[in-house]
């Protein structure tokens, strides 16, 4: 949720008061500490940072060149990010689903994805959004993060083995030229390739600028004179590495900066190692900042990232001497020169990250279960409204799957929207059972429904359905419809169709809940009426709706799509046959003077309400089922029969 909006609105204050049970002054103080102060610090930090940058650029043109190198490098990463976003439309979702169902696969995916996009932060942000939208389990997410830590070490190898040995800017220029031309094309794939090429070009150019800057800077000032040896140096430079990564928001950029500085002799090998360890810790802080606005799974993953990188750093710092000795031995085997410290640093970086994974991998499931206990994910908690009494809650529900974090990628956004709609469906089932004077556990149990209906009491002491709608349905519907309009482009045709169908289904569900209100009023009035036929008809209405909801809840869990297809059709058929105007039952009641004349209109209207509610909930359940089944089911979805086709079947 937008924090700035929260600052201006009094609804935030009201929410804080309600949730914490405190007075207005305390709520103001809490808002100041949680919202106003962080925002003030952010602005202050930005101003100081910009002034420091401009001041250092004015002080030395070499620093200006290094700074420009870092800026160009970071811009290149943004451009590559843009390029990778283009290749979507279900592909990313499919790739993730087939490559992360086992821990070793998610580890491999993390290594590969990070090697390709050269940004562990990007991979962790994507993983957080996948987790938040419900596409991934926490164990798989942790596996990806472990893999990303190994994958990010390939960047150091590329720079030290290739970037510093050849004139990298010579490759950057053609990439930029071709890339920019492709970016201007209208075809999505060409545009995407263009962004990736431009990104790579800028990465190379950034490295070149940093290298040149450090070389020139060496002539002016020798930073290596400020080198600190021993444990103090180790801890101090680890801290520098953390700070540099938090500022640049990229461990990869920090590492490139370290390697170029090491190549120019501006930092010592020992201090460069400490800086690299610091960069590993710093990258988790970036992830934690990213997870602040995320939901429970995002926070769980950020915590796992911190634990993993923290443990790896502790191990690396504790075993620093044996690790450096191991690097020396391996460097000899690999044929590195004795003075080739950039390659040795890359080797060290890879070794300590692999060591971290080897140490932590056996505890991955344990870590996930501890984090799940510490940071509780209550997003799938069901709403229960006790039918025998009014609802005592006053707070309205807020979306739990849809957030800013998931709105960066169409697949992830769509998945989060589907999860949120599932939650709205769940709340609607609770509200509708309540309106039918039933507990949802009675509705969902295996006990015969007629027994539950007989045992439940029809009474006046209930909360108004409108109030429940405003509390449990409308806020979710608003968030869902807003999110469907903000899904990032491009989307595939199937995704477009799914979104459209979901929007229609949401409208249906909202109207179904509203219709239940009208039905509830007359169920209360006529359920125990002295006229047996009238009372029986209202009991039938109640039974038909309760049984439809019960059956739909079951069908939604069918693993077999064909079975679900048939079961939905059967429900639709039953609904059509239950129409008392069509099947002649109303005529019988009227012709036989079985019901009082003044109830005929009510009965006819209520039968229509009953039918409408049935069709609407059926529509939502079907749409939800097919949306959950994934994209390659469009064809099966198209076999759904409409009312006319089903009527043909019934009446020949």
């Amino acid at each position: 949720m937008c924090r700035c909006g929260g600052l201006k609105s009094t609804s935030l204050l009201r929410n804080i008061r309600r949730r914490c049970g405190i007075n207005w002054q305390a709520a103001y103080a809490l808002r100041y500490v949680n919202y106003v102060m962080p925002s003030m610090f952010k602005r202050l930090f930005l101003i100081i940072g910009l002034l420091a940058l401009l001041g250092s650029a004015w002080w030395s043109s070499d620093i200006q060149q290094i700074g420009a190198g870092v800026a160009i490098f970071l811009f290149g990463m943004l451009s590559m990010d843009e390029g990778f976003k283009t290749f979507t439309g279900g592909t990313l979702e499919k790739l993730l689903s087939v490559s992360t169902n086992k821990v070793w696969k998610s580890l491999g995916f993390g290594v590969l994805a990070t090697t390709l996009v050269q940004s562990s932060s990007l991979v962790s942000v994507i993983t957080i959004s996948f987790l938040s939208s419900g596409l991934l389990e926490l164990v798989q997410g942790i596996g990806i993060i472990f893999g990303a830590n190994i994958g990010t070490t390939t960047g150091a190898w590329l720079v030290s083995a290739f970037g510093l040995k050849v004139n990298i800017s010579a490759y950057a220029m053609p990439m930029l030229m071709v890339g920019v031309v492709l970016v201007m094309q209208s075809r999505k794939s060409l545009k995407g390739i263009g962004h990736i090429l431009t990104g790579l070009g800028f990465l190379f150019l950034g490295i070149h600028f940093m290298k040149e800057g450090f070389d020139a800077f060496r002539g002016a000032i020798d930073l290596s004179a400020y080198a600190v040896s021993g444990w103090l140096g180790l801890l101090l430079f680890t801290l520098f590495g953390v700070v540099a990564t938090v500022i640049m928001q990229s461990s990869h950029a920090t590492l490139v900066l370290i390697i170029t500085a090491l190549a120019s002799g501006q930092v010592t090998y020992e201090n460069a190692i400490a800086l690299a360890i610091g960069a590993n810790i710093g990258t988790t802080i970036t992830a934690i900042i990213g997870a602040l606005g995320a939901n429970a799974p995002g926070k769980q993953l950020a915590a796992a990232h911190l634990v993993f990188n923290g443990m790896t750093a502790i191990v690396a710092l504790t075993l620093i001497t044996p690790l450096i000795q191991l690097v020396e031995v391996l460097s000899g085997w690999l044929g590195f020169g004795a003075e080739d410290y950039t390659l040795k640093l890359s080797l060290f970086h890879t070794l300590f990250n692999v060591l971290g994974v080897v140490i932590m991998l056996p505890f991955i499931r344990g870590l996930a279960s501890v984090l799940k206990k510490l940071i509780v994910d209550d997003r799938r908690q069901q709403l229960n409204l006790p039918a025998s009494q009014p609802d005592r809650r006053t707070e309205t529900v807020a979306p739990k799957f849809i957030s800013d974090v998931v709105m960066h990628h169409p697949d992830i956004a769509l998945s989060a929207i589907i999860e949120e709609i599932t939650r709205m469906w769940d709340n609607a089932v609770a509200v509708m059972s309540y309106a039918l004077y039933l507990n949802r556990k009675d509705l969902e149990s295996e006990m015969p429904l007629d027994l539950a209906l007989v045992n439940s009491e029809i009474h006046e002491n209930t909360t108004d359905v409108d109030e429940l709608y405003l509390r449990y349905i409308r806020p979710l519907n608003t968030a869902i419809i807003k999110a469907t309009s903000n899904i990032p482009k491009p989307m595939s045709k199937t995704q477009d169709e799914t979104v459209f169908a979901l929007k229609l289904a949401c409208r249906d569900l909202v109207n179904a809940v509203k219709d239940v209100k009208h039905l509830q009023k007359n169920v209360l009035k006529y359920h125990d009426h002295t006229n047996d036929d009238l009372a029986r008809q209202y009991r039938t209405f109640r039974f038909q709706l309760a049984s439809l909801l019960h059956n739909l809840q079951n069908i939604l869990n069918y693993p077999d799509r064909e079975e679900a297809l048939l079961a939905f059709s059967e429900q639709q058929q039953m609904l059509l046959n239950s129409d008392i105007v069509r099947n002649g039952h109303l005529d019988n009641l009227i012709a036989g003077h079985k019901i009082p004349a003044d109830t005929i209109t009510s009965l006819m209207n209520d039968s229509q309400y009953c039918l409408d509610i049935g069709h609407r909930v059926l529509q939502m359940a079907q749409t939800l089922y097919w949306a959950h089944s994934g994209t390659p089911t469009t064809a099966t979805r198209e076999l759904v029969l409409d009312n006319d086709e089903l009527s043909e079947l019934t009446h020949g």
């Binding site: 199937t494 799509r561 059967e570 064809a635 099966t636």
Partner: protein, 81 residues
């Protein structure tokens, strides 16, 4: 004669993954129709063995429903050709 090698599993999976959604839909539709055909045959067999009229009627209705879905699917498949 050169020995005929099967394509490796990973290549098959990669091809399946890279297939367009239209191709996937067609494949899926064929698969669904196969399953529905199997279901219709199964229901027919159950219908022959049904003891009561009520059971017969229930199975008959379900069988008609399966066939209605199949008919719609066949139409769609032929329409795509």
């Amino acid at each position: 004669m050169a020995e005929q090698h099967d394509k490796p599993r990973w290549l098959k999976r990669l091809k399946k993954l890279m297939r367009s959604s239209d191709e996937n839909d067609r494949e899926k539709l064929k698969e669904t129709l196969e399953k529905l055909k199997y279901k219709a045959n199964e229901l027919k067999a159950q219908l022959d063995d049904a003891d009561t009229e009520e059971e017969k009627e229930r199975l008959m209705k379900k069988w008609a429903l399966v066939n209605k879905h199949r008919k719609k699917g066949m139409k769609k498949l032929l329409g795509d050709d």
